[in-house]
Symmetry: D2
Subunit: 156 residues, 4 copies
């Protein structure tokens, strides 16, 4: 299986799919282009996920979340990550490695999505807060992928 497929499967196993990320892209951009269709948004998400930097960020961020969940990560930083302290900040930094390569539209949309947490982004965030799952990195990764796909659509 190729790395891109592994990344997509991993996201899917936590409820984050190219379809529900695509839906957030559509929701964001339909007001600028009423003819925009879901399929094009899903294609944009998929295209973002084929980039090497994006795959590395997805696999690294999700690996940290898992290691924290399994108690195999350094306990001091795990506690900080698990509580998703608003002051932690490295989850957003890791997401920047995705957002940066899509320019300033991706950057501002990421900031917006990270505050508003619509759709699957909010669901993932809540899951981490009300269960033993650690999703500290996952919600930012999902937000960054959506923001990057929004930028792709906007640049067309």
């Amino acid at each position: 299986m190729e790395l891109v497929e592994i990344a997509i499967e991993k996201l899917k196993s936590h409820g984050v799919t190219i379809e529900n990320m695509g839906a957030l892209v559509l929701e964001s951009q339909i007001k600028y282009d009423p003819t925009l269709e879901l399929e094009e948004c899903i294609n944009a998400v998929h295209s973002v996920l084929t980039k090497r930097e994006v795959i590395h960020a997805v696999l690294t961020g999700m690996a940290i979340d898992e290691a924290v969940e399994n108690n195999t990560f350094d306990p001091i930083i795990s506690e900080i990550i698990q509580e998703d302290k608003p002051l932690y900040g490295l989850d957003e930094i890791l997401a920047l490695s995705i957002v940066n390569i899509y320019g300033s539209i991706a950057l501002t949309n990421f900031g917006y999505l990270d505050k508003v947490k619509p759709g699957i982004i909010g669901e993932v965030d809540q899951l981490g807060k009300h269960s033993n799952n650690c999703t500290t990195f996952l919600d930012d990764i999902a937000g960054a992928i959506v923001a990057a796909a929004i930028s792709r659509i906007a640049h067309k």
Copy 2:
């Protein structure tokens, strides 16, 4: 007059004051700390404005807006800047020089403010769109200062 005073006066001459930026900081943070007062927010804005990087960004961005307005800037890029094409993007990049030094909370708040454009940020943005004023850089600078001050408050 010191550089910081010059920057504050310049912003004020376009309607952007430490008071109306402070009001946006309060609006954003009152839900996390109901005892937060406007004065503390205004002080945070002022503290942000004393940083060398911030002063340089304020003076450079406003100088570009002015040069475009006065037709003394390169005509090709002026046209792109004047129309504030969503794809221009360097206004957000310049604002990053302010936001970056205040960490990831500043970054995500900047993205949010840049999309929602509350208060003075939106007023400045609209002024640029419905007059001969060029405010392409100014609204992002104001948003970045507010986001930086929000981060200062949140870190306390």
Copy 3:
């Protein structure tokens, strides 16, 4: 004339060509791939220059340099820019808008080139220091384009 052609001509009029930037790419990467040829490096530089974000950064940075040179830019910030004070910093920030979209290899190479200033980058820098020309933004722009092209080559 298309924007990309205008940007290339502007750079050329200040001695910065796709050929001498390509030579710096080759110099940097020949140790990793001894079969690399100048033509491929020049093509990578050209490809970087076709990106919208890059064109905007080139035209904006060179327009600031020119406005400073022509005394049509705000005098207070012009003095800071003209002296290219090491603490100014917005020239590097503007260059980041080019570097960011090419990932972390571009970022570290930009930092290196900005310190070492080889070839045309150093020539442009010196020109600004020993003449009435203002090249504060130009040397960083050239460095960023070279760094971006290095990243393109490295990713193949």
Copy 4:
């Protein structure tokens, strides 16, 4: 023990001390200020290490290195991290969370140090390549702390 002490001890256990990082700061800045002393450079490094963002980056990066070393991290991304593929890139991104808050001087110095790898930075990098230790994140973290301290010195 406070978080800052934990971070300093962790770095020290891998041979990275505030003294050998301070020596790199001195080496870099002595040409600009011949009166600069090692003690001031060490103090600058220590000051950098007291920042929350820096502590989080140190603890997170070193925790990833350790988890990879102990085979408790996701095997697919571990293989990519272990080999420190030049195309991995997230080690530099994590380091950015340190560098960004110290402005553009820190950024360009980080890029330079990451290419040249002087002193302890190079030693850590080589250790990772010629042993079972994983130091993929550690050398970038050390470089970022040195670059941040250089910026502190330069701004005085």
